[in-house]
């Protein structure tokens, strides 16, 4: 699963490989670090120290999420997030490689996480921290989503050759890519699903 932000003009903003590497690293490292700081703010003490630590953690997480919006309209994010029919065969090939890499990493992380939870919940052996509150699971959910959006792009950022010389040679209009038509049926289905879920939750409670 990935996400690509089309600009209103259909133009793909130029992002250098170095900036994409820095941005994806900030996202992938920043979110878990910020989450750990925010969720463990209580360890800093009571009152102001805990509050300041919590805010600092949230700020790091916010930086990570905002950095995602820097990469969201990029050419690399287009490769992993655009409709397949809009990509050429090189882009489809790169997308497949990026998704394969992301799948390996995400399944590895999921397996490690489940193993950790199993050990952490075994009261007879070790007493380890495990997520319990909504706050904990909410942080994990958004982190998993951010990782699934960013990992394929991070792979491309670290493996694709730099594109800048080509861009300069072929002129400023070279980055223009036609915008595909809006998939109204897809967004309609999403909205209907959301409404159905909301009504279901309302009827249960």
């Amino acid at each position: 699963m990935s996400f690509y932000l089309r600009t209103s003009s259909g133009r793909v903003p130029s992002r250098s490989r170095a900036s994409m590497r820095i941005a994806t690293s900030v996202i992938l490292a920043g979110y878990p670090i910020g989450g750990l700081i925010a969720l463990n703010a209580g360890l800093a003490g009571d009152g102001a120290p805990a509050f300041i630590t919590g805010i600092a953690g949230l700020a790091v997480m916010a930086l990570s999420v905002l950095t995602f919006f820097y990469i969201a309209p990029s050419y690399m994010q287009r490769i992993v997030g655009e409709q397949v029919g809009e990509l050429d065969d090189l882009e489809r090939d790169l997308r497949q490689k990026a998704f394969t890499f992301a799948y390996q990493v995400l399944t590895g992380l999921a397996a490690a996480g489940i193993f950790y939870l199993a050990v952490a919940n075994d009261q007879t052996r070790l007493t380890l921290w495990s997520p319990q509150s909504y706050e904990h699971w909410n942080t994990i959910f958004w982190g998993a989503l951010l990782y699934s959006f960013t990992l394929p792009t991070a792979y491309l950022a670290w493996t694709m050759p730099d594109l800048e010389p080509d861009l300069a040679e072929d002129g400023a209009d070279a980055g223009q890519i036609s915008k595909p038509r809006m998939r109204w049926w897809f967004w309609g289905l999403m909205a209907a699903g959301g409404l159905f879920g909301f009504l279901l939750a309302l009827s249960i409670t």
Binding site: Y75, D88, D89, L90, E91, D93, P161, L163, D166, E169, D170, G171, D173, A174, I177
Partner: protein
Amino acid sequence: MSSPIHNRLPVLRAERGLSRKALADAVGVNFQTIGYLERGDYSPSLELALKLSEYFELPVEMIFSLKPFEPLSRIATQRDQ
């Protein structure tokens, strides 16, 4: 690991005075794909190779090769001799 595929795309493009963008539009790919092909960073699919062959009106083996192409100056010299 697959062996690199050499190509004559830069020469053919220069001969016809085409930009990467113009060639890319003609064969229905992104202009950056042409850049990657020319630099040897990417091997084309059979479909793309055939499209390029059709566009330049040349056999595929005159555009792509598993061995490095001989420089045109050497070919010309050999022909003169």
